[in-house]
């Protein structure tokens, strides 16, 4: 019974196109961060290398990556530059969908390596982890089945057309990665709200001054678009703190009841956009990963006014 329920939930047939779109959003976002935002540019890698040796404290994942070179090995900027370029090439291949599983796997591992290296020098942030995990998950899935060079090659070689229709093709293996990333979001938001109300803050986290403090701090340190102005409105700030806590506490509802995504997805995107504007805390990776909450096939069939035969309301259910 439990196995049936488990398989029914995780391996319910889902459209390949939804998974492919998640791949495109996730890979495009990470490539954009690597190439346009200058994450891990040669200057950044040189700056990390220039930090005094005692500041280098490799995190567990980096230690595992570097085991062949030794427990405390510190890669040079040249070493890291090679990893960077391998990552970019793998990312481009993953985006176009050529040898998609392999290129996604290399892209996930090299990005994990780059981030782990940066976080082994004292600084630590929370922006990258969900996307890195998601890329690893996608590498284990048929994310390149459609909207990919792999699909074109398969067609050219005379592969089955029936399985390859972009909108109708679906598989029991196409839904679990999407659902897994959705539940990952639930746990991440749960962690955030537990930290605020239980572990670090307390109920007085909701006093309004807390978020005013962070807006003022980030405005002075990094500059924000509207943080300085918004921090002058105590009750509005307090209201937004309550909204954040309610949103993060109840996010699981968006996964359990897909119709609620009409509320939670705009709210979540607004929440992250607000963080960007008011705190200069950019989480583009999280915003890109919200692609897992969009029923892409449903959207496209609506746009094309073409409902695939025998596949009514093709999710909302993913």
């Amino acid at each position: 019974m439990t196995v049936k329920w488990w398989n029914g939930y995780w391996f319910r047939p889902a459209p390949y196109v939804d998974l492919a779109l998640v791949r495109l959003f996730a890979v495009a976002c990470q490539l954009w961060l690597l190439l346009a935002w200058g994450k891990f540019s040669s200057e950044t890698l040189e700056a990390l290398w220039a930090l005094p040796e005692p500041l280098y404290d490799p995190i567990t994942l980096l230690r595992l990556f570097l085991l062949p070179w030794g427990w405390e090995y510190r890669p040079s900027p040249q070493f890291m530059a090679i990893v960077f370029y391998v990552s970019v090439v793998a990312g481009l291949l993953a985006f176009v969908g050529f040898r998609t599983r392999l290129s996604l796997l290399v892209f996930a591992l090299t990005n994990a390596f780059l981030v782990a290296y940066a976080y082994s020098h004292g600084d630590f942030h929370h922006t990258e982890a969900p996307l890195i995990i998601a890329l690893g998950i996608l590498a284990l899935s048929p994310a390149g089945r459609v909207l990919s060079v792999d699909q074109l090659i398969r067609r050219w070689r005379g592969g089955s057309d029936e399985d390859d229709d972009i909108l109708t093709a679906e598989s029991p293996l196409a839904g679990w990665p999407i659902r897994l990333v959705q539940w990952l979001f639930v746990l991440i938001y749960l962690s955030a709200v537990l930290s605020k109300l239980v572990f670090e803050g307390g109920l007085d986290w909701l006093n309004g001054y807390t978020l005013q403090y962070y807006m003022i701090q980030d405005t002075l340190r990094k500059g924000t678009l509207l943080g300085g102005w918004f921090s002058q409105h105590h009750y509005l700030v307090m209201l937004s703190q309550y909204l954040v806590v309610i949103f993060q506490t109840t996010f699981a509802l968006a996964v359990m009841f897909p119709r609620l995504r009409w509320i939670y997805v705009p709210l979540g995107l607004g929440f992250h956009a607000g963080n960007w504007i008011l705190l200069n805390a950019a989480f583009p990776e999280w915003m890109a990963l919200y692609a897992v909450f969009i029923p892409w096939r449903h959207v496209f069939t609506r746009m094309l006014r073409r409902e695939p035969e025998g596949r009514r309301d093709p999710q909302l259910a993913t």
């Binding site: 930090l51 005094p52 500041l55 567990t60 995990i133 962690s191 605020k196 003022i216």
Partner: protein
């Protein structure tokens, strides 16, 4: 795929699902920080702040050489990025405050609270985690003595011999109406620091 291949695939993927969700749930509860990255907890902006709290955006450090000359030390002079510089300045402030109980008491007084605060607890799972051999194997090195290390680093790189450092901040305080000016704090640290001997 044949039914038996399907079943094997489902089983393997189920293991992946359980591992991913299990690791993330563990991170939510045990809060291991970057130890288990990319499975980590998310405590961003989670400390409570209160009316009247000081917000310090930047520190400035000025050194006095053996000749009595004053030298402003910027992140560039120190050869580090801003966040390392700020950690250095913070460590210098802390070193100075260790010997200045009055300043420390004043700082405590500035942290007024309107509502009762929660005490941070070390939950049993977290205590247990820290005691395991695996954690001891992977745990971070002890924090380096940043204050002494970077001060020495600057002196070696610049050729200046310093007898004293002055650390200044430019704070504001949080009020209901937003930020308000607050008196700057300036502390002096005699060199050499104990950690650099």
């Amino acid at each position: 795929m044949s039914p038996s291949e399907n079943a094997t695939t489902f089983r393997l993927i189920s293991l992946v699902i359980i591992a991913v969700l299990g690791l993330q749930l563990f991170a939510v509860i045990a809060r291991p920080g970057k130890w288990t990255w990319p499975f980590t907890d998310y405590p961003m902006y989670s400390h409570s702040r209160h009316d009247g709290d000081r917000v310090v955006a930047r520190h400035f450090v000025v050194g006095t050489t053996v000749d009595g000359e004053e030298v402003a030390i910027t992140p560039k002079d120190l050869g580090v990025v801003l966040w390392v510089y700020e950690r250095w300045a913070g460590a210098l402030m802390a070193a100075a405050q260790k010997t200045d109980a009055a300043a420390s008491a004043n700082d405590q007084a500035a942290q007024s609270s309107q509502l009762p605060r929660f005490t941070r607890h070390e939950w049993p799972l977290r205590r247990w985690l820290k005691s395991t051999a695996l954690f001891q194997l992977f745990k971070s090195k002890p924090d380096p003595d940043l204050a002494a290390m970077l001060t020495e680093h600057f002196q070696t790189a610049s050729g200046h011999r310093l007898v004293r450092l002055r650390v200044e901040d430019t704070p504001v305080i949080v009020t209901r109406a937003g930020q308000a000016a607050a008196p700057p704090r300036s502390v002096e640290v005699e060199l050499p620091l104990s950690g650099s001997d």
